[in-house]
């Protein structure tokens, strides 16, 4: 049998523990697992969940199509996935089996470095993990959301998780649930009566079905509606699929020391909404200017007044988001080629060596585009960085002037579905680059230190090179699902 492909690192996060001595980690999700690495050496410290057996992780039969299809909910997905454990205390300290999910599409590092928030795909569960000093991960809580979450953000104080889902709703959850068991608010016990009456429905068929409902409701009147068994609050909602949630706090100009917080939400119907926080029902404005779905919202920490947004358009937009005003339209493709449709996979902002850098990756592209954000809010393009495979995620270590890029070592460069003829050994899971000091323009040099070699040597879980077409497609869909957001205009009535 040929050598195995290594499952790429879908999400990559850098975090720094603020303790007596600062410790630095890289956290990555790959398939159903999360790995932690020492950021200095690239040595793998742990893998979560621990008791995973290897055959199970390779078994792609567990790969439900759930993550792949991002379009409007087809009817067969109406089924309710019941939470694995009933009961109010969701702090299951016991080890978690990985067999229930095949991928972790979302990973967020807490700013103080103590926690990692992970989203597991199939069970729609938001999991809070503690990162211990030795780099091992321990699950503190699991909270299964009613609809598949698409994006997770943290508030500035780090105490609240904001979770946007494919039904367009944003929920807020406390990072660490309180000690008291959660008691669902008592809903007034309304007797179950059909809301239609002979006064409101008239056709023969409707009257018949109403009669049937009345008979039915008399038979079984007690049926508890199961709701979320943890503390949560619905903050706002779009009638669309939510794609990204961003949280920002800005100081007020006229009021010294006072700050105001906002939630920005992007959806599949081209909207970016700006809402107050915590009074999220007050919409402050919209940023309207995209003509295709929005996938990413990036508010640079060094310039919180600006928003860089991207999605299914072949350009980025830079906004003064508080006014809904477009400052710049930044082209993402060199020449106007009508045939290719681009999708923005990620936008990252960082400040290295005095320059405010914005990095942009397109879905299924090995080219990491670089820009410098000027003080007037305009992006100036720099030389891009070419990777050995498609860019999946970027982690930034500002102190070292270094970025770590997770690359796709399975598919061909520039393709979201064509697999390479054979796996390379060792696989390039990550590549790393450092800003060349003392140069006028932004220039990058590759990092070849132990960080890179150790992570790449360590590998991840293997995928047999002779995987069949179905299995390959499932794996492709897990990693490259953003294109499904594009609208297919069909017959209309």
């Amino acid at each position: 049998m040929a050598a195995n492909f290594q499952l790429p690192l879908q999400c990559l996060q850098y975090l720094e523990k603020r303790g007596a001595e600062s410790q630095r980690f890289l956290i990555a999700s790959s398939g159903g697992k999360i790995y932690s690495y020492a950021a200095e050496t690239g040595q793998r410290l742990s893998s979560w969940p621990q008791d995973v057996d290897a055959s199970n992780a390779n078994n792609s039969k567990a790969t439900e199509t759930e993550t792949g299809s991002e379009d409007q909910a087809p009817p067969e997905k109406k089924r309710k996935v019941s939470p694995s454990e009933e009961g109010p205390a969701e702090t299951s300290k016991s080890t978690v089996k990985a067999s229930t999910w095949s991928s972790i599409p979302c990973l967020v590092a807490h700013s103080n470095g103590d926690y990692v928030i992970a989203l597991t795909a199939e069970d729609k569960c938001v999991r809070v993990l503690r990162l211990k000093d030795d780099g091992t991960l321990e699950q503190l809580s699991e909270r299964c959301m009613p609809k598949r979450p698409c994006s997770i953000a943290l508030t500035d104080d780090g105490n609240t998780i904001l979770c946007g889902d494919k039904f367009g709703d944003v929920y807020s959850l406390p990072l660490l649930p309180g000690n008291e068991p959660y008691v669902a608010p008592k809903l007034p016990n309304r007797p179950k009566v059909p809301s239609a009456t002979p006064l409101t429905v008239h056709s023969k068929r409707n009257l018949e079905s109403l009669e049937q409902q009345l008979r039915y409701s008399q038979k079984n009147s007690t049926e508890e509606k199961n709701s979320l068994n943890f503390q949560h609050q619905l903050l706002l909602g779009h009638v669309s699929l939510l794609t990204d949630v961003a949280f920002v706090t800005v100081p007020q100009d006229d009021n010294f020391g006072k700050k105001r917080s906002y939630i920005l939400t992007g959806d599949r119907d081209e909207h970016i909404r700006v809402s107050r926080y915590p009074q999220a029902h007050i919409i402050e404005g919209y940023c309207l200017g995209h003509t295709a779905f929005v996938t990413k919202l990036c508010i640079p920490q060094y310039a919180p007044g600006y928003l860089i947004s991207g999605g299914g358009d072949d350009y980025l937009l830079v906004w003064k988001w508080s006014e809904g005003r477009i400052l710049q339209k930044v082209p993402l493709v060199k020449q106007e080629s009508e045939t290719t449709q681009v999708t923005v996979r990620g936008i990252w902002a960082t400040s290295i060596g005095g320059s405010n850098i914005v990095l942009v990756a397109l879905e299924g592209s090995s080219n990491l585009q670089c820009f410098v954000l000027g003080s007037d809010g305009t992006l100036k393009p720099q030389d891009p960085i070419e990777m050995s495979g498609n860019v999946l995620d970027v982690a930034i270590m500002e102190k070292d002037s270094t970025i770590v890029v997770s690359v796709d070592c399975i598919r061909e460069k520039g393709s979201t579905h064509e697999w390479r003829a054979s796996p390379t050994s060792p696989s390039n899971l990550i590549e790393s680059f450092r800003v060349k000091p003392g140069t006028e323009n932004l220039e990058w040099e590759p990092v070849t230190e132990s960080l890179v070699t150790n992570i790449n040597m360590g590998g991840s879980s293997g995928i047999p090179a002779d995987a069949d077409t179905k299995q390959r497609k499932e794996l492709n869909d897990v990693l490259y699902s953003l294109g499904n957001l594009r609208k297919k205009h069909g017959e209309d009535d």
């Binding site: 706002l236 009638v239 006072k258 919409i283």
Partner: protein
Amino acid sequence: MSTPPAKRQKRDQYRKRAAAAANEDTGKVKLPQKKFYRQRAHANPFSDHQLDYPLSPAHMDWSSHYPAFVNPDPEQKNLAGARKLLKDVEVVDIGCGFGGLLVGLAPLLPETLMLGMEIRTQVIEYVENRIQALRTQQNQLKNSSTTASESPAPAIPAEPATDGASPDAASTPETSNSPVPGGYQNISALRSNTMKFFPNFFGKQQLSKIFICFPDPHFKAKKHKARIISENLNAEYAYALKPGGLLYTITDVEEYHHWVLRHFREEGEHEASEGGVKDLFERVSEEELASDPCVEVMRESTEEGKKVTRNKGNKYVAVFRRKADPEWPA
């Protein structure tokens, strides 16, 4: 199999004749007949319809909707290069159906621009044709009354047994031949999915009235997400309403009425008892509604309102006033 069903054939023939008649431009203007425009009463608000909507409110071309209100200065253009209007749209009927409310309100608020929004193609086509016919009729009346030697407008009784000024007469204009204030130049309608694209049409605090008349009740609990009134959508309505602006609702489904109250504010509910979007609305008292002519129009001249009357159903009205935004928390 190859021939279209009889119904569609009839519709096509009707449309062709109507188009031909419009081209000939012979005296009498006929209003469209509803029976050729009927469509299933439900539409899925979550599907991707082939819709036209502006990039933002500043990109909307209103000039074709309200030609009588276009700014005479041709240099006044919006972001999409379309002529600007002298004033903004201020009243919106969400789910306008066959347009009875608009036609009823037009003479009451002749200087206010009103827009109906409807998701069903056939129905919106009817409303567009209806408004076009009404405008032409009014123009002809105006012209004939000025040319026909100062004689008072043809004093044909609008309809027996109804007083001419009642909204009912306005809503059955097939028989009303008297000039109407505003000449229906202030109403228009377009196809849209307001649940998704409301903010593409209207900016912050632009509207003074929103009407939601006899919305699709979506009886099944599973379908409640598709209801036009929800906490999430109410936040969007609040965004578009001026402080002091009114949101009118009417339904014949009692359960839906309570749903509406739950999602805005119940009568006698304590202030700040709940927070959320309810903070942005207060219910308008019954006494105040009694003196609001819009409520009467909403009850009596919408097509659905008449149907409920025919079937001897109940009508539940609730109107809410947009309050000013609360203070930022300290």
